[in-house]
Amino acid sequence: MSALTSTLQRVYGLWWIVLPPIVGSAVMAMIIGALVVAPREIIEGDVQRLLYIHFPSILAAYGAFGVVFVASLVVLWKRDLRWDAVARGAATVGVLFTGLTLATGALWGKPIWGVYWTWDARLTSTLVLFLIYAAYLLARSMADELDEQAARFAAVFAVLGALDIPLVMFSVTWWRTLHPQPIIMRGLERPAMPAEMLAVLLIAFLGIGALALWLGVLRTEAEWLAKRTATLRAKIDRHQGA
């Protein structure tokens, strides 16, 4: 058992050696690819280069919110506060990348649509997503790290939020939608994007994905350490009181 634990710890320790260089080089490659390698889009111009951050960011955010959902279910099921730290870490990353998606989208929208913001279906549902998980983080941060009841409440709210997303998307699609329809997966025989653009986009997926993973791991570890510190402090207080 202890051999297994130490092996697991060693593998986990590798995160710190493996992930930072991967994240660094992938993000550098993404920036160079997006700014230099990818050709200039004929109609939209240079502003189209924001797509290389915009689209991978929202996928990373969806992934992070998926982790929040699963981790919250485990909190409710196993009553293990370590999963609460995972959920908080993933929610922070999800909110960050949803914010990045909204910001890059607004910057792109001004020259292309003529407005930074419009109540279009996909914009609205992304904003609601951002608000739900920002509320989750706010609610969780208003109670102590070790408050199990607060962790349960936050987990219930995260489950509610995740189950609300399909309803939000469905309800806002009944409005007329402005957002460009996805063109990347239109079929391999007749791709809608030049090969260089597609290649840069793939690198951007890797870069943003690795960055999201790394930030999520860091945030989760910080939460874990905060919980351990709080536990130790409570022990010291008890000891001094006795």
Partner: protein, 222 residues
């Protein structure tokens, strides 16, 4: 049957009796709703000549905020006095306790809303007392109050709950708000598109009521 709903009825009657004896809480929610409708009517009248198209939005933002305001208060006292822990310790399933609390909140909220409909009928010079609109208000209230009742139970133990509750509830209620505003607009013959908005409202109300009933026992489990 009577055995099953007895405890819920007891909670409903307790809450309604308390609400009646100590009218300050709900009266302030009603006063808040009244002042909100008055201010909206006044401010929009300054800005635009025709305020009728704004009416559905005015009504539903007022209803949602008043519901959150009142719902949060109704649990604050319970958690301060320890009533809520006592209710959970009693040999009654938490679902029954929740149904009782939610039903009492819905009834009190409906009273406030019908008064506001009367006030808005005068201020906006539009007949708001129709069966269709009453059904819409009922659906929207069941949906929003069931969710805010669940959330206010949860946030009652947190710091800064007064601010937290609307921040948590309103993003989740966006689908309900869309359905309610559009359905209200349709019943007032405003231009809202052809989608079945009352159906959307009913689905959203059912969603939040069903999930709140399911998640309440999990949330309050100690």
């Amino acid at each position: 049957m009577n055995e099953a709903i007895g405890p819920s009825m007891a909670v409903v009657m307790k809450d309604l009796r308390l609400a009646w004896r100590d009218r300050a809480g709900w009266a302030s929610a009603g006063a808040f709703a009244t002042i909100a409708v008055l201010v909206y009517s006044f401010a929009f009248d300054l800005a635009t000549g025709d305020i009728r198209p704004l009416l559905p939005g005015v009504l539903w933002t007022t209803f949602l905020f008043a519901g959150i305001f009142a719902g949060g208060q109704s649990f604050a006292r319970e958690s301060e006095e320890g009533t809520f822990d006592a209710l959970l310790l009693s040999p009654v399933s938490p679902t029954m306790v929740y149904l009782g609390k939610a039903a009492a909140n819905i009834i009190a909220m409906l009273v406030i809303e019908f008064l506001q409909l009367g006030l808005a009928t005068i201020l906006f010079d539009t007949n708001l007392v129709s069966l269709e609109l009453l059904v819409i208000v009922f659906l929207g209230t069941v949906g929003s109050v069931s969710l805010t009742t669940l959330l206010s139970t949860m946030s009652a133990s947190m710091r800064g709950r007064a601010m937290l509750l609307p921040v948590m509830a309103l993003p989740l209620l966006v689908p309900l708000l869309i359905g309610a505003v559009r359905a209200t607009g349709a019943s007032l013959n405003l231009e809202v598109g052809a989608a079945p908005w009352t159906l959307l409202l009913a689905v959203a109300a059912l969603w939040s009521a069903a999930l709140s009933v399911l998640l309440f026992p999990i949330a309050v489990e100690r």
